[in-house]
Symmetry: C2
Subunit: 306 residues, 2 copies
């Protein structure tokens, strides 16, 4: 049996603006999805996850099944397998769990079948799987979970920047939303006020550029301040919600340096940065306000065979 | 006995950005401050307000006493008076109660003493009183309460724009804050990120210009949408608070077209626009969330002798 894992991620800065060519920064976190593969002599793929065991001929576990299908077709190999998934990430909360499950499945199958795919190849293949399942997909999600660390995304270019090991506190609202609906919502607003929304998006780009400098300097206060500014700008794009704002303000009151949405907004998750005793205070506050608090760290570790 | 009154006001769009030369729009509301003056044969001024009756030789009722002092000095008249104040506005909540009490006092004294000051003269004199009491003061506050209606403020120019009679719901947090501290806070942020904060301020100016068009068109949905965008931009200047955001999101959930801070932020008030049954829903929601809900209308009426 082969067991692989891949990390979740947060967007530090720049989500939504990245759709319009502005830079964004995403980072892997130390919460992971684990995929175990045991090859079988038949030609069926069965997936065990969330206390269910299902054959890959239904509408569940679509990323895992699409990954297996992709490997079968691309390498013209027929195989049977029992695939089992464990996750430290809530799903559909903007934390990259689908990208993580996709690439960890691809790697576990690649290792089991002796294909020997490398991390960048897995990232590319993972993107294809996400495109197949979702229709549209960001290349950043599968890249970050494949190679780990802090990634500056500028248009179609993606590059690692200095890694800063910071503790973060994630607050998942539990509210699921469609990323493409929210991207569409911003597009509609931009259509209505092209110059204004264009300028707001440029401001987010400027925040990300400042954010990159602060990350390189390790200036936590500055990072927090820019997170808050970024949050306001996301707010002005009308993609925040009462629940997200409660967690964001709760985190700030509990001593966070800064707090913002991570990902598309409209539900999903926020994250905050804090230090020392404030980490637990922020987490408690998030829990108290009805969010799922996840204490994590930025992580330099991408996909791995465990 | 002479009784005069003057209205409170809200900032529809553009607060804070107006400090940097961007346009803003303020409007009088139909909640007023009433000042009654009864001249007496002595040379003392006594003020009755908030269930207190005090001579003008202490630190309370400073606007009223400064207005009386200004009239005495400017017109070289010695007089005694009993001045009594009633207000439909909470004080120190960003609703212009100090400007309203100042100009209604000036007018009531002017009428009592036969000086015959006109609204624009009262606005100017009121600004001097506010400068004397506060050190700094916006000319807009005393102008709006003196002449009523909807005022476009561009730099030092102020002009009436088409008046749109809309119901609004104000939510006062009850938290007092210093306007100049908040203006200073934005200035510090702008010093740290001149280009970024400058761009955010330009965006607010752009919102105000769109807002003006929507007000002229009477497009309530558009006005609401722009209020929300403006709120996000104010949020990015870090002058909003948990309490304001709770009321703002509560109002939106209860069916408001839009909701934002009015004035300096950091406490004070928010306002929302809504129609029909949603007006009461928004007001109830604000009350439920711990705010003081004030149902009002924009008003074209400035200072008046009642």
């Amino acid at each position: 049996m082969i067991r692989c894992s891949a990390p979740g991620k947060v967007y530090l800065f720049g989500e939504h603006a990245v759709v319009y060519g502005e830079p964004a920064i995403a980072c892997a976190i130390d919460k992971r999805v684990f995929t175990s593969v045991e090859l079988k002599d038949d030609d069926s793929v069965r997936v065990t996850a969330l206390n269910k065991r299902l054959y890959c001929d239904n509408q569940e576990f679509r990323y895992v099944c699409a990954a297996a299908k992709m490997i079968k077709e691309l390498y013209n190999i027929n195989f049977g397998a029992d695939i089992s998934i464990e996750s430290e990430l809530p799903s559909s909360q903007g934390l990259g769990s689908s990208a993580a499950v996709t690439v960890s499945t691809l790697m576990a199958l690649s290792e089991s079948l002796g294909i020997g795919l490398k991390d960048y190849e897995i990232a590319k293949l993972g993107h294809k799987v996400e495109l197949y399942v979702q229709g549209t997909a960001s290349q950043a999600d599968t890249l970050v979970t494949s190679i780990g660390g802090m990634i500056l995304i500028t248009g179609v270019e993606m590059s690692k920047i200095n890694f800063l090991n910071l503790p973060i506190i994630i607050g998942a609202t539990g509210i699921t939303r469609s990323t493409s609906d929210l991207v569409q919502k911003v597009a509609i607003l931009k259509n209505r006020y092209p110059k204004l929304v264009g300028s707001i998006i440029s401001c987010i780009g400027e925040v990300t550029r400042h954010g990159k400098s602060k990350l390189i300097e390790g200036d936590i206060t500055g990072i927090g301040e820019l997170m808050d500014i970024n949050q306001g700008l996301l707010e002005s794009l009308k993609i925040s919600t009462l629940e997200l704002n409660n967690l964001i303000y709760g985190a700030r009151r509990a001593g966070a340096f800064g707090a913002k949405i991570t990902g598309a907004g409209g539900g999903g998750s926020m994250y905050a940065i804090a230090q020392g005793a404030n980490i637990d205070k922020v987490a408690s506050q998030i829990t108290l306000l009805g969010g799922q608090a996840i204490k994590a760290h930025f992580s330099d570790r991408g996909i791995s065979v465990d």
